[in-house]
Symmetry: C2
Subunit: 257 residues, 2 copies
């Protein structure tokens, strides 16, 4: 067999090199196999996938299903293209953590690249931090006597969502969860309460879980440790910033086909 470079793969390689240099976002529909070596090993046999290379050198390999890439390299990977008789290679490496990916592309169905300009960042409402702020502003959601003092405080005893007291010398520590609280949430709370008790040399500390609900087991654990539960919904289900939310509501109504 004569040694020669298949024009197709060679052409793809050159297009990709140019696109990478120009920091364009690249999409490749192709048949490929993928090997990854780094934080783990992985092997993906031949199949059809979409590969995306972003301007920041994030590399994604997407199967036809699922939200997450089946293989990926994080931002800042060193990406190189190569080709031989019948394959196009996409090689990506990064240090710290030391990892490496090799994509062997056997067929290129489509190759596209284009500059993307996007200055906007997404804004999200309804996070746990929003919940903590809401509780700080509306302490009666926990308890009529609750007087919040600090918010999202990073103490050396841990990151405490909301902390305060009951006006009669008992400290109150609140752990917020935007979803149903599980065992982990109670453990966190337990750790904070224990540390505060030790640090302040007192037993007058009450721990609260503030969440829309709790799992059965975690409720039991809560009782076992003498903590309390306050049913609180994440703020976007009510209103945290009326004007903003109104605007969003209107937007959704107007767009609704």
């Amino acid at each position: 067999m004569r040694s020669h470079v298949e024009p197709d793969k060679d052409n793809s390689k050159n297009i990709l090199k140019r696109a990478l240099q120009r920091n364009e976002l690249i999409t490749v529909y192709c048949e490929c196999e993928v090997n990854y070596e780094g934080r783990a090993y992985s092997k993906l046999e031949r199949g059809e996938r979409v590969i995306i290379i972003k301007p920041d050198k994030t590399l994604l390999v997407h199967k036809p299903t699922g939200r997450n890439p089946v293989n990926w390299m994080k931002e800042g990977a060193s990406i190189k293209f190569d080709s031989n008789n019948d394959s196009l290679f996409i090689n990506a490496e990064s240090i710290n953590p030391r990892e490496r990916m090799i994509i062997k592309v056997s067929k290129v169905h489509l190759l596209h690249s284009c500059e993307l300009s996007d200055a906007e960042e997404v804004s999200i409402m309804g996070s746990e931090a929003d919940m903590a702020r809401m509780i700080y502003e509306k302490p009666y959601l926990i308890n009529p006597d609750f007087k919040p003092v600090s918010l999202e405080e990073q103490t050396k005893y841990g990151y405490i969502d909301v902390m305060g007291h009951d006006g009669e010398g008992t400290l109150i520590i609140i752990e917020c969860k935007r979803d149903k609280a599980g065992l982990n949430a109670v453990q966190q709370l337990r750790r904070y309460v224990e540390r505060i008790k030790t640090a302040k040399g007192t037993d007058k500390v009450i721990g609260y879980i503030a969440a829309p609900g709790m799992t059965k087991n975690s409720e039991q654990m809560l009782k076992d440790w003498g903590f309390k539960f306050a049913q609180v919904e994440p703020p976007m289900k009510n209103v945290i910033d009326k004007s903003r939310q109104k605007k969003l509501k209107d937007y959704f109504l107007n767009c609704k086909k």
Copy 2:
């Protein structure tokens, strides 16, 4: 202003509808804004992005940076396309959890769709489960006297990676972490040990963290609770399946430009 349908957007809409019906994987390079309402609220102002719609009705909106989509709908979303004078709309809804996304596309740069056939699943080596199996097979990695009995056991006291005894009536519980163990790992271990102590009515239980390393704080916590640490690397850094790994090594060597 005369009411009319811009051919471009209308055309895009029709192409998208057909592609969706055919279960093709769709890619749209476009200028768009995105609103999401469901588990939270989010708003993303106008900018250039890549939108992917997968055959399983996963919808991804990718910015030019980062590994994760800035907005998404999970598998099985109900997706509809619409257009008016100057915009193309991609609307996605799902029940359980009830959520909704509206993408207003102001410019379509590229629209592509194509069938993807991919029967292969990725295989991964070096997971925590692999680590647990390795320890089960090579108990001396923990302790010369360790006699493992159960592996990845889902008891009502929790999911215990490896459990066994020292041959002298003391139970040994091992929590594996493939990366550096943190406070959470120690808490997990603590929970398992406490539950086993209560269930068996004995104090003769030793807890181990098996991991490549531990954080300072978690090391302190480990000492405080009388647990122990065994330095163990995840198996892919050594060898779990020599033949398989050899093959992979060869592969990487051969591919290495």
